[in-house]
Structures are given as C-alpha cells and as structure tokens.
C-alpha cells in the first residue's frame, strides 16, 4: 500500500516503513538505545533526502525514548538532576547543530559531513565496544570475575572545579565535563539525526562514573528532551519534518521496542555489548564504503528554490 509523504514529496510503501520501524524498534529495545544511527541511513536508502530523514528521525526517537524513560521512572532508575544538568548544555548543542546543519545544506556539503560524522563516530565507538566486550567475554571464559574499577579511583576529570553532588547516582563531579558531554550529544544528535544514546551511555560510565543502575534511564531522559527540541527546531527553521513518515515510524518503533526489550533481558551484558558494537561498527563501515568507492553517478541535483 503506497502512501504519499507530504514533506518528503514522494510515495512510500506503508508496510516497508512500518517494517523498518519494527526492526529498528526491536534493536533499540534490545540494547536500550534510540536507534537513530540505523533509522536515518535506512530512510536515506529508500530514497528520502538525508535532510528530511535526519529531521524526521528526531521525532521518532522522541517517541521511543519517552516510552523508555517512563519505564525507568517507574523503577526509580533515573537521575533527574544529572539529566537536567546535561540538558542545559544539550539544548545549546542542539541549537548549534541545527544552525550548522542549515549552513552546510546551503554549501552542498551536508551529505559529506553526515557521511564523515557517521564513519568516524560509528567505527571508533563500535571498535571500542567490540574490544571491551571481547575482553569481558574472554575473562568470563577463563573464569575470572570482571574487574570492576574501584569506586575511589579518580582521573583528571575529577580534579576539575565547580563540583556538584548528584544524589541518585551517588557521584560528586565537576560541572564542566557534564556540560561538555551534554553539548556534544546535543550537537552531534542534531547533525546526524541520532539520539546519541550509544555515545552517551559509555561517556557517562567512563568519564563521570555514573553507576549502571541509573545510566540508561538518565540517558533516555536526555535523549528525549534533546530530540523533542530538535524536532521543534528542525520544523521551525528547515521545515523538513514529515509528520506522516514520523507517525508510521513511531508506531512500528514502539511496538518493536517491546519485543526487543524482552530478548535483551535474556542475554548476557557483554554478549549484548559485543553485538551492539558489531552492529555500530558495520554501519560505520557501510558509510566508509560509500565515501571511498567511486559513486555510480558523479552528479547529483539539489533543489534551490521555486519561482
């Protein structure tokens, strides 16, 4: 069944888009991530312009992260104070990202920047995740317990000024790295059409030592608010959010996420991280391939304006 998308200006098969929503929702529920880094490339692949894909996916992630945030809220597994602190910088990051997005689009380099950002971020983060989880898997094979870093161990980050105490997460850290992480996630999310969950969770664990109990819930709250504001900002400045496309994706996404979450709970943590790492890395390689291999058509057209 074909349906015409009013903003993307092309007809798509409803069941194809719904299926994509289900599949990405399943993966996002399984790993506790938004899934934007999978959804945006898939939409581009079926012919939706990168700009519309990025803008529309932000509303899709809003829906899935809200579902997640509610369930973590019920379990009291999120740190609102930390989320708000990250957010204060995240909003500025999002605004800066939307601004850069608009500028790059005018310069014909948006697709390149989106491509490069995907390659670097995904291969680096995916590689790190694979390395870390393979080590963990090998350790459990040898029968050694996972070496947890002692809670007292400090890095240079803990020496920074403007210290704040976050009661729920039981951490005492400087506001500077919190703001820096918040800004980065907001900025990257707006340009790449990703919620940034797969970046934020490791950053919170490694840099701020946020305990695993609150990290995913907190990341979901942040993702929720940055993506909701990215939706509004993209709609207000670039007029590129396709509400029909967003609705189909959301419905597929929230249903898929429920089944994904069940599978995820049955799997072991390091296996899950290894799988996610492989997935992230593979998507990164796919983008690298596109940039390096000679394109089938060297020419492309971009709409500038109508008379």
């Amino acid at each position: 069944m074909q349906i015409y998308l009013p903003i993307a200006d092309l007809p798509v098969n409803v069941f194809l888009v719904l299926g994509m929503g289900l599949a990405v929702g399943y993966i996002s529920g399984m790993f506790g991530i938004g899934g934007g880094f999978l959804m945006t490339p898939l939409l581009i692949f079926i012919g939706i312009s990168p700009a519309v894909a990025v803008a529309t996916v932000s509303s899709h992630i809003t829906a899935s992260s809200f579902t997640g945030a509610i369930s973590y809220w019920r379990k009291r597994a999120l740190d609102i104070a930390l989320a708000m602190m990250l957010l204060s910088a995240g909003i500025i990051g999002t605004a800066a990202g939307v601004w850069l997005f608009t500028e790059l689009r005018a310069l014909d380099q948006l697709d390149l920047v989106i491509g490069l950002a995907y390659v670097t971020l995904l291969t680096v983060v995916g590689g790190m995740m694979i390395y870390e989880s393979v080590q963990a898997v090998l350790r459990t094979r040898r029968g050694q317990p996972a070496t947890l870093r002692r809670p007292g161990s400090h890095t240079w980050i803990h020496g920074l000024p403007f210290k704040l105490r976050f009661k729920r997460s039981k951490i005492y850290v400087s506001a500077i790295p919190v703001w820096a992480i918040g800004f980065l996630i907001g900025f990257v999310g707006a340009i790449m059409g990703i919620g940034g969950g797969f970046l934020l969770v490791p950053m919170l664990i490694y840099f701020l030592r946020v305990p695993t109990a609150t990290v995913i819930g907190t990341s979901m709250v942040l993702t929720l608010i940055t993506m909701a504001s990215a939706t509004v900002m993209h709609a207000a400045t670039n007029h590129l959010v396709d509400v029909v496309l967003a609705l189909i994706l959301m419905i597929g996404g929230v249903i898929g996420a429920q089944f994904g979450a069940r599978t995820g709970q049955k799997m072991r943590g390091e296996r899950l991280r290894l799988l996610l790492g492989l997935l992230v890395f593979a998507v990164g390689l796919r983008f690298a391939y596109e940039l390096v291999v000679k394109p089938e058509d060297l020419y492309s057209l971009r709409y500038v304006g109508s008379d």
């Binding site: 009013p6 809200f66 014909d108 959010v241 020419y299």
Partner: protein
C-alpha cells in the same frame, strides 16, 4: 476579429517562422486539475485535438507532424559533481540551473529531428536538446551547448526521476487530422501550473501552434500538512513532538508489565 488577426500576426512575428498555411489547432485535455492525495502514484492525462482547415481556402496539407511540449512550474536546481579528494568522494564543482521547468515532456509522432531542420527546432525550442535551460555561469545567465557535461547530467538525472522525457511515438494520429497523446505525470511531479504547447508541422515547416494548461495541486490532508509545515513551522514542530510523546506514553501504558 481585427484584434484576433493582429494577435495572430504578432504571434507569427514572435515565432519568426512564417506559416505556410493557416490551419488551426483545436485541443482538449481530459483533466485540467490533478489532485495529489495520499494515494497519488502518478497519473496520465489524455490530450485530444484536431487540425482545422484554413477557413478561407479550406486547404489541408497532410501529412502532418505534431510536437506537444509540457512544462512544469519553474524551479532553480543545483547540479553537483563529485570528485575524489584525499581518497573520498566530495561535491567539488556545481552549476546552478536557474528557473528551469521542474517537469518537461516533449511528445511527438516521430523523432523531432526528422520533423524539422535543426535551425527551426532550435528557434522553437523543440526537443530536450533544444529547450533553453538557463545556467548561472559566473555572473552571467545563459544556456550552454547541448553536450555540456553539466547540462547532459542534469537532463539525465531529471529523466531518471521521470520528470524530463522525450517520447518520439507518444502522439498518435487517429485520422490524418485527429490526434491524441497521453501526458504522463510521475508521482514526483511538483505541484503548480503546467503549460502545454502544441506545435504543428508539415513537411518540415512550422504551421500553427496552440496552448493549454493544467494544474497539479496537493489536496486534502497533504495540502494541509504541507501548508502547516511551511507557514507555521514552530507550531507544526510542537504538534509533531506532542504526537511523539503521546505515542510513547500510549505504548508504555499498553505494554506495561510491572
């Protein structure tokens, strides 16, 4: 009547080709309004027409040749060319096509190059190769030779989208003076007004022309959404975000397990 004669005379001066005879063209379109709804996957419009003999002499000069040129609303597009830089493919060169038709179909009963000589075709802008596609070259505006790589790429990309086409057998003569053709509008056809020019030839000479028009409009819900997104971006964005929250909340209620 005198006014009409004057207008006709003016038309002949502007077209720069003196008509060999005074046949007239009468055309009719199956539908002047195409509505783009949620189920729009393209449409085909049928154009019918007859060649009326010259009123004073009653003369007809078959066999005739006919070219129908349909042009969509004008837009400005940029063609970009990728080049390898530091191992990756980057858009390096670009050329802007200013105020060119978003849709261009040249429909004829046989290849346009057989219908008239190149000079006439160029003057009348008949065929994709002869249609004026204005480019911005530095500070100037102008069309290039038709084998310019950017022009060729532009026409090719538009043709892949089904937006530009040259169909050499799209016009059928039912009798020597009655013809029909189908105008294919793809799903990607932009909304706006379309112009239709019908040009009649006989033995390589331009004889008469007439024109018609059609309109492609977004209808119902599509229209409403597109207008809202353009005119009330902020409100539209907030509505979309609220919808996302509602669906997210709804899912958490429906699938609640604890």
């Amino acid at each position: 009547m005198r006014l009409l004669a004057l207008a006709l005379a003016l038309l002949c001066i502007t077209c720069g080709v003196s008509p060999a005879a005074a046949e007239r063209l009468v055309v009719s379109l199956s539908n002047h309004r195409v509505a783009v709804t949620s189920s729009f996957v393209g449409e085909e419009l049928v154009l019918f027409g007859t060649i009326e003999p010259d009123r004073s002499t009653g003369a007809l000069h078959p066999p005739y040749d006919l070219v129908v040129t349909v042009t969509g609303p004008r837009q400005t597009l940029r063609a970009r060319r990728k080049q390898r830089m530091l191992g990756i493919w980057v858009n390096v060169d670009s050329r802007e096509f200013v105020s060119v038709p978003s849709y261009l179909a040249v429909l004829s009963n046989r290849p346009v190059t057989e219908i008239a000589d190149p000079e006439t075709l160029r003057k009348l802008q008949i065929g994709l190769n002869n249609f004026l596609l204005t480019q911005r070259i530095g500070a100037d505006l102008g069309d290039t030779v038709n084998d310019d790589p950017f022009r060729r790429a532009f026409v090719r990309l538009q043709s892949q989208q089904g937006l530009y086409r040259e169909s050499r057998s799209a016009v059928t003569f039912l009798t020597p003076t009655v013809f029909r053709t189908a105008i294919p509008l793809p799903a990607a056809a932009p909304t706006g007004s379309y112009g239709i020019e019908v040009e009649l030839f006989s033995e390589g000479k331009f004889i008469a022309r007439t024109n018609s028009a059609l309109e492609v409009i977004k209808a119902g819900f599509e229209q409403y959404v597109a207008d809202a997104a353009r005119d009330h971006g902020l409100l539209y964005g907030m509505a979309t975000a609220s919808m996302a929250l509602l669906i997210g909340w709804f899912a958490s209620v429906v699938f609640r397990r604890d």
